[in-house]
């Protein structure tokens, strides 16, 4: 089996995000970028499946600006086999990404697509679901456990009420959650080997996908700064404020 893992280059999770002065988006100039943490978990899971003999090849795909190839390289250093890079802007919408990924799936014919449940920049949480719909494949989202046996994948999903166990047919799209695993560090030999692994470039237009945005971004704003708290003198005052000011009781 071949596993396809889409990886996205996003702002590093440690960076304090700043809004551009013209409110057109988030400041990305001179900001540390890294692989989306959920995608890292997906890469790790793919590696574990391969190491357990459940897959022969792991292919990474990244869609975005040229530096996305560095993100692919990061995953190759973890141990993935090769990469596919599709040039696009930073803000390709989930539907366009899903269509591009479908085109890659048609070409590569993987048995499993492992995605992060969402990217930590847009927090859309749509791409995996859209891809499964476009492919007509089953989907298992928010996975905190994955077990593949023949034509079936048993997925443990993290839902509000607890854990949901589902069985879905292969091939499928699985989106992974935070607690699925802890990604490994790239070892020194693997960092050096990654340099020699191939990254093929594909063109969005050649794949027949229109990546033009369908949404209009009105503006991006900083969340309102948190106000300092106050001390109340009595329980009566507290209840009064909860009733009339906060309107929560």
């Amino acid at each position: 089996m071949k596993i396809l893992v889409p990886v996205k280059r996003v702002i590093d999770y440690n960076v304090k995000v700043r809004v551009k002065p013209d409110q057109s988006g988030v400041e990305l100039a001179n900001v540390k970028m890294a692989m989306n943490p959920f995608d890292e978990i997906a890469v790790e899971q793919a590696l574990r499946i391969k190491e357990a003999g459940g897959a022969e090849e792991i292919v990474l795909v990244s869609i975005g600006p040229a530096q996305s190839q560095e993100t692919i390289r990061t995953g190759l250093a973890m141990g993935a086999d090769r990469g596919i890079y599709i040039e696009a802007g930073q803000d390709v919408e989930p539907l366009a990404v899903a269509k591009l990924l479908k085109a890659v799936v048609d070409k590569e014919a993987p048995g499993l697509v492992l995605c992060g449940k969402q990217a930590i920049d847009g927090d859309c949480n749509q791409t995996g679901q859209m891809l499964s719909a476009l492919l007509g494949w089953s989907q298992g989202t928010f996975a905190s456990g994955i077990e593949i046996a023949g034509d079936t994948a048993k997925i443990i999903r993290e839902v509000d009420g607890g854990l949901e166990h589902i069985s879905i047919s292969m091939p499928c799209v699985v989106t992974v959650d935070l607690r699925l695993n802890e990604p490994r560090y790239a070892s020194l030999p693997n960092i050096m080997k990654a340099k020699k692994k191939p990254i093929d470039a594909l063109d969005a237009a050649d794949l027949g996908v229109d990546t033009a945005p369908r949404l209009t971004l009105v503006k991006v704003e900083e969340p309102e700064a948190r106000q300092a708290g106050i001390k109340v003198a009595s329980v009566t005052e507290l209840v009064d404020k909860l009733k009339n000011e906060a309107k929560v009781i």
Partner: protein, 382 residues
């Protein structure tokens, strides 16, 4: 001229920093206090290729350059200079075995050195010979089976803890050419250790004397050829000096970052202390020192990798300058923290204690000046 790190070098540095932050930093103060470090952590580092950084790939190592190695030791030292330096010593032994060891010696130890199933120490210094290392007195007398070792090695990092000891001992005359490198395994008859030394810093790595009393080893324990030991030791030193400097740099960088953050949080006279120019100037000087040290260290490493004629001098200059300036930076970081900097819990006094020895070992900074001046005078007079 391009001063930027390559994509791979950045990945190497990031990995070392991240591994250090997760596996070392949260425990660094505890290990310092308890004067021990866990083998599991070292073996986890080895799994990432950190135990055989410049052992070639065909020997099971990572096959990296000395410049790459400085990135590793700088990154690890941001978590703990003591652990970083300990790994540097092990790396030197792994490199020696791979470079000079016979096939038998390699078969015996190299794979386990790369995985740190066997941890290695390096024994050159003796109670009576430090800077004057070639005056060492430990004897290795030839026997029918191999060698019989007698003597005492002092200040040995990992003594009692390590599985293997590379011992520099005299197999011939009193000249440097009479010294050979021999591999001694822990547990053999005649090998014992002195009491653990109580130290100012580097407390997480055990340090003691290694005592050899009629220690019999077989002929295959000889590394390379007889009489070559001192030459191997000297070859290891240039790179070792870079590593010791890199570890000082990582420690000082950590202390500087702590001070930078503290200067924002700490209030005095109604404002944060970073509003005072005296403090701003301190931070400016610290940052300058770190950047200059880093640039020169990497240049010296580049020279060693490219075997330039002045590589040994450059390594000595880097070791002298980087360890001196990084100690100053750490000390200033403590000063910025005021009374809190003197408290163990803030983690700064540990860095000051740890970095002090970087000015002493791997050749004192005075010996570095001897090497540098000897080289420039010889160049002038040639």
């Amino acid at each position: 001229m391009d001063f930027s790190l390559s994509e791979e070098q950045q990945a190497i540095l990031d990995m070392a920093v991240d591994f250090g932050a997760e596996a070392i930093a949260p425990h660094a103060l505890k290990w310092d206090e308890e004067e021990q470090m866990p083998r599991e952590m070292l073996q986890a580092a080895a799994e990432l290729g950190l135990a055989a950084i410049y052992v070639p790939e065909e020997d099971g190592g990572s096959g990296l350059t000395r410049l790459d190695a400085t990135l590793v030791f700088e990154g690890l030292a941001m978590a703990c200079p003591t652990i970083s330096s300990f790994l540097s010593i092990h790396n030197m032994v792994a490199w020696m075995v791979s470079s000079f060891g016979s096939e038998t010696l390699k078969d015996r130890h190299l794979a386990q050195l790369c995985s740190m199933q066997k941890i290695a120490s390096y024994c050159l210094t003796e109670p009576g010979s430090g800077s004057d290392a070639a005056a060492l007195q430990t004897k290795a007398n030839r026997t029918n089976e191999g060698y019989n070792l007698n003597g005492t090695k002092s200040f040995i990092s990992g003594a009692g803890f390590s599985d293997l000891y590379v011992v520099m001992a005299r197999t011939g005359d009193e000249s440097p050419g009479g010294i050979s490198a021999l591999m001694v395994e822990n547990g053999i008859d005649g090998l014992s250790f002195g009491a653990q030394e109580k130290k100012m810093g580097w407390r997480a790595q055990p340090t003691a004397q290694v005592i050899l009393d009629n220690c019999a080893i077989d002929a295959d324990s000889l590394m390379g050829a007889e009489g070559e030991g001192f030459r191997y030791a000297m070859m290891g030193l240039d790179g070792g000096r870079l590593n010791i400097a890199a570890a000082a740099l990582g420690g000082a960088q950590f202390a500087y970052e702590k001070a930078l953050a503290y200067a924002k949080d700490r209030q005095a006279f109604g404002r944060s202390i970073d509003r005072f120019q005296s403090l701003q100037f301190k931070l400016a000087d610290m940052h300058t020192s770190l950047d200059v040290a880093r640039s020169y260290l990497r240049q010296a490493a580049w020279k060693l990798d490219n075997q330039t004629p002045d590589a040994t001098r450059a390594c000595a200059m880097a070791k002298r300058y980087v360890t001196d300036s990084c100690f100053q930076v750490a000390n200033e970081a403590l000063q910025i923290h005021g009374g809190y900097g003197y408290l163990t819990d803030y983690g700064i006094e540990k860095i000051v204690r740890d970095l002090r020895v970087h000015q002493i070992l791997e050749g004192t900074n005075e010996i570095m000046r001897v090497i540098i001046s000897r080289s420039i005078l010889a160049e002038r007079d040639q």
